[in-house]
């Protein structure tokens, strides 16, 4: 292994890692927002919108991220919506992640006993207040394990971003392997950087999960 090559590529990979993390985090934030909205719509069985949500969830879960990205990146400009690669990456990840987050939150919401809603109502809370102060806090803590798994899953999915010419970690590795003959070095850096990104998430996730389980509500 050529340490000089590694030292030389390090800054390039560092930059690529930053892009991966940035797009990943933004995509996940939007996934959470989409997921929450979809889960609440399904929880309240909002007519019509609920059907739209379930169609979205089926499409999102049953097509690969790569295909979703191609649609957004090559498809949208064809119908007159201009796109740049970074926005597409974020949008694609959010499109995929939204449905996974929705499922995680929905099962959390459904785990909250009906009596909780009723006692909130009988204290004079409206639907919004009941959702915000009573149901969501309980639902979210139930959803944490699924939520953490989704965050890790989505971070890993960022590896297909190179397909729409985003200069992420994958792109960098392929590029360097193609240009020079430093395959081993490039691969080591690729794996190393993904581990640097994902291990902390995994560890923090485990700690949070354990904390929540220890707090374990239940009566």
């Amino acid at each position: 292994m050529d340490l000089n090559a590694i030292a030389e590529y390090l800054p390039l990979f560092g930059e690529a890692a930053l892009l991966t993390v940035k797009l990943g985090i933004l995509g996940i934030i939007f996934s959470i927002i989409i997921g929450l909205i979809c889960a609440v719509v399904q929880y309240y069985k909002v007519p019509v919108i609920r059907r739209i949500v379930s169609v979205y969830i089926e499409i999102s879960r049953n097509t690969p991220l790569l295909v979703q990205l191609f649609f957004i990146y090559y498809g949208l400009p064809k119908v007159g919506i201009p796109t740049d690669a970074e926005t597409c990456g974020i949008a694609g990840l959010a499109f995929l992640g939204g449905s996974y987050m929705a499922e995680a939150f929905r099962s959390g919401l459904e785990s909250v006993d009906k009596i909780q809603t009723e006692s909130a109502y009988s204290l004079g809370m409206n639907k919004m207040q009941t959702m915000r102060y009573v149901i969501l806090p309980q639902a979210i803590s139930v959803s944490i394990p699924a939520f953490v798994a989704n965050v890790i899953f989505l971070m890993k999915e960022t590896s297909v971003f190179s397909a729409i010419s985003l200069l992420d970690l994958m792109f960098m590795a392929k590029d360097l392997m193609g240009m020079y003959n430093d395959t081993v070095e490039a691969l080591c850096l690729l794996v190393g950087f993904y581990l640097i990104i994902l291990l902390p998430i995994s560890i923090v996730g485990t700690i949070v999960e354990r904390r929540v389980r220890r707090a374990g509500f239940g009566s």
Binding site: S119, S122, G124, Q129, Y133, F217
Partner: protein, 256 residues
Amino acid sequence: MADALLTIDNIVKRFGDNTILDGISFSVKKSEVIVIVGPSGCGKSTLLRCINALEPIQDGKITLDGEVIERNSKTLPLLRQRIGMVFQSYDLFPHLTVLDNILLAPCKVQKRDKEEVKQEAMSLLERVGLKEKAKSYPRELSGGQKQRVAIVRALCMHPEILLFDEVTAALDPEMVREVLDVMLDLAKQGRTMLIVTHEMQFARAIADRIIFLDNGKIVEEATPDEFFDNPKTERAKQFLNTFEFDSVRAKKELAE
């Protein structure tokens, strides 16, 4: 009745084809304590749930101080603030401490000053003997303690009427008393209450009026003494009999 606080006017409640409440009418005056009794499944819980519109009714009208309680109306949350309810199953919010359970609705719904509500909450908790549990979570309380907190939580909203649905039914016998004592105390303070219970001695002690419900109708409505000593209807007699036990020993001796 001119001075009725809560009026139930000929309400009908069906679950599908099953008529649970079939033309129920009565009213509750200010400071009155009414106890509803009746066999299991006769619709006592359903009646209370209809009163704060947790269940829709198919016919009739319920009014609080002249205002109609209607599902899906804009004023429903406001009306519900004026009606306190305590359920049979423990309904505290498990993610909040005892104190936060009590503060939530007064602060977020009525937008009252947090310090002021906190003081009130603490003095009420002291009154029911739970001051030192303010920072505990519901899971750390016994059933009886949870129900006392639920009562304080309802009281802190300053309701005009309190509904109790068999609040001691899920409790171990030794915890029943501590909860009933709190309710007796409330009655002494002149609170308006509508109580469903299977504790007949308690009903007799606390009620101004007893309503006996069976088959979806009010079968008897009387003072406690009348109802327990001289029930007028056969059904009420049968119902009261289910709480009596014939001495087995006497029977054994007879047989010998």
